[in-house]
Amino acid sequence: MTESTLSSRDIALSEESTNTTNKLAFWNFFIAFAAFALALPMGAYQVLERSGMVPAIENAAVYYASTSTHGVLMAYVLSTFFIMGFGYHTAVHSLKQKLWSPTFAWAGFWIAAIGVVLAAIPLLTGHASVLYTFYPPEIAHPSFYIGAALLVVGSWFWCIDMVVSTVTWKRANPGKPVPLVMYGTVLNAMLWLWTSIGVASEVLFQLIPVSMGWADSLDPGLSRVLFSETLHAIVYFWLFPCYLVMYAILPKEAGGKLFSDEIARVAFVMLFIFSVPIGMHHLYMDPIVAAGWKLLHMFGTFMVAVPTLITGFTIIATLEIAGRLRGGKGLFGWLKTLDYQNPVVLASVFSLLMLTVGGWGGVINASYSLNALVHNTQWVPGHFHLIYGGTTIIMYFAAAYWLWPKITGHQLFSNKLVITQLWLWFVGMWITTIPWHYLGIIGQPRRVDTLQAYQQSEELVRSWDFSMLIMNFGALTLLVSGLLFVYILFMTSRQPMVSDSERVVSYSEAIHPPLQVPHLLNSLSFWNWAMLIYLVASYGYPVLQFWFIGTPESPAWGY
């Protein structure tokens, strides 16, 4: 057992290969974090504008342009580019082979980057204030949709690179398990290929033709069903790398080993298969799909909680091992001995805490019968900011801190500031999202720039006041923390170089590293076939129905 792990570790990557990957990873991260830096102050502005405390900045056109841009940059640009950069780095260093085709990877990068620019121009100038969920029949400038399509197409290049890299490795290493971190990465790439079909179809066949004037009308019902196919699994596409950091990087950083490798693979496969064909829980309140289909999707939606619960268990058990190795005693003593000065450890603990609460909120959203109480209220942004902005992004920060010295060669700037930044993000996320969850329960709708009209229901608006005040402090804390993150990365580039040994990338080992795993836990094709069948069963009729129910289509509207 030891022998085989050693021998696979001994294979050294060529310097050229490492440099190519570092450059590719760096520029992908660069776009990701530049988008973050641009979108972050917009979020803070939106909170302040909406709170109504500074009447001078109230402006609906600016608010909705800002909201649309914030959503697109944070949810699509930051996530996609981060995932691509992290994936290229992971593929090369975990498989210990050169990237299948750097040229192909750069092509994907440029296509996606041009897409971002094409989408950003109409967004920033108020010509695409249709929010990041598109919302036809309101139609934006065509450049917005073309840009979004290019971003997705560029990301497909990444997916193909991940799949080909893995298949090449499997051919060269018959019968061996794909390294855990790469198995998760390639499943995430396939997940994205499957789940982006929905939004790509909507953009290509409905939004671009109507916005260009090639078609007169579209069926918003079809748009919504197609978008729902993307809308849920995209969240797992964002979350997957966060889990991978916990499984593959955290155990070593914490000073221990991963509790279980094989069950992690089971969790990855479940995340893949159950996160895509369940998107209709986003349409519970929609009069376009019959109740039976919604109920069917409810079953799968709850299934996807299982791999998350497994991950929670495995990671906490892993932290316990590390804590005990560091001298922690008793039932909870190991919690005290964990190294909270290590950014990966601290971020993982914060991430799990936010996941616990955010996941509980998600169960409410997923509930077929309870969703009506929270749908499109401020509860929903509370939920997804906690899960994406909190759970996921804090792990992106941690990954960046871990990777920056390795890919740039510079020492990380001030560990003390890094720890402060993570604390501020964690605290700020609670101060922002707890009031939002509560506002939703007490009836405040989401996506409104002002609450003026509701003053007619005086008592109701009064009941929102306190939470509306508190959220400003949260947004301000997040703004400071986010800017600090960008500052730290910038200052790192001016730090002295680290030694070569500090640039070596190695992943955590499991307590029992498997020499072999069952075929299904190493397979790609089996799960693709399973996905195809499940997807056709759950989305086939709900999509096809639009060709025979005879909806009178909607013309394009402005906003």
Partner: protein
Amino acid sequence: MAIHIDPLEKKWIIMSAAMVLLAWLIILYFAAVKDVHPPSNVEVIDSARLHLDSGIGGGEFAEDKLGVRQDPDGTIVVTIVAARYGFYPQHVEVPVDTPVKFRMASFDVLHGVLIPFSNMNTMIVPGYIAEVTSSFTQLGDFPVICQEYCGLAHAYMYGMIKIVPKDEFKLIARAN
């Protein structure tokens, strides 16, 4: 080939599965026994011709048909058009503790309706009729809020619903 599972891990997986099963059963119970379902009728309408008697939808949403009516079988039906930026009619009055069926259609873009503290929550998608049945238990005036972004003045799309005691509820007579 078997995989290695720690006994504690096995217990946790069983517990996770049990939690999911419990959630399924609770939801199924409320769906099957208490008849709690999200608004899900699939019924099309020509949103561009709501005012006409002919065509798909048959004039159900023509201007003179909007508001509260009682069907021959006694059901109270509220017909509402959602259009930028208001609900038509803007004010409705319905009796307390009585099932009220809302039928709603959009005149233009995507809208939604939310009455806080009730299960009255649905999307109104152009081309489709949204239908929700709700029973209000509290007397008083409540806001009817558009919960979906429908344009720059979306936050001003607002109506009111008045819940009155059953004996005070009088139906304003309408033609047909």
